[in-house]
């Protein structure tokens, strides 16, 4: 399954783009998406932390993804 992933803040710099397509070979979960992204973009692992948002909600690693979901990488926030 292929998903489109939005990137913000430093994640956009790491991806070199505001969105990337990712092919998920095995499980269609948030956790396996993170693993695929970290293999392709090792700099993600150097961040203090990062979250995945699915349809505008923070998602746990076991959340199941579908091709229609709006998925985003949320690096450490720093608003205010």
């Amino acid at each position: 399954m292929k998903v489109n992933v939005l990137a913000f803040g430093i994640a956009k710099d790491i991806f070199g783009s505001s969105s990337v397509d990712v092919e998920l070979p095995g499980q269609n979960t948030t956790g396996s998406l993170k693993k695929s992204l970290e293999e392709r973009y090792p700099r993600l692992k150097q961040l203090a932390s990062y979250m995945v948002a699915v349809n505008n909600e923070y998602a746990p690693d076991q959340e199941i993804l579908t091709e229609r979901d709006e998925i985003a990488i949320i690096p450490p926030v720093s608003g205010g």
Partner: protein, 140 residues
């Protein structure tokens, strides 16, 4: 009557209109937090800041914070405005304004809103120095 106003804008924020919006005859006090761009961080001169938001999610997260504040304190009106884009030193990236019957609740709710916003709302700031730039909080 609307009791909550939450906005993200790339235009300068208007402090007075925020205060006016939360004012009501039932209020005994208004607590306002105004975030401003500081000219240095850890002793290093900051030229400007750049703010980026994941807008639909940021609005949703700010709405959750507002709802929680209404549950925890007897808040009458609550406003959160956040700016995006390039901000110079002295400009205002965030305004929180809260009206309550009594001051204690207004102070506590305002502190809760700004502290939680900084932890959960998907907005990012980049500090621009003379010799480079850094996304705040990105690295340990």
């Amino acid at each position: 009557m609307l009791t909550t106003q939450i906005e993200i804008s790339d235009q300068p924020l208007n402090i007075q209109s925020c205060i006016d919006w939360v004012m009501s005859p039932q209020s005994g006090g208004i607590d306002v937090f105004i975030g401003t761009v500081r000219d240095s961080t850890k002793g290093k001169a900051v030229m400007r800041l750049e703010f980026e938001a994941y807008e639909p999610m940021a609005l949703k997260e700010m709405q959750k914070i507002a709802e929680r504040a209404f549950e925890k304190w007897p808040v009458q009106k609550l406003l959160i405005h956040h700016r995006t884009g390039i901000l110079q030193v002295g400009e205002v990236p965030v305004i929180i304004a809260i009206s309550c019957a009594h001051r204690q609740a207004a102070f506590e709710a305002c502190l809760y809103v700004i502290d939680t916003l900084k932890q959960t709302v998907p907005i990012w700031k980049k500090e621009i120095f003379e010799d480079g730039e850094v996304w705040v909080a990105a690295h340990p």
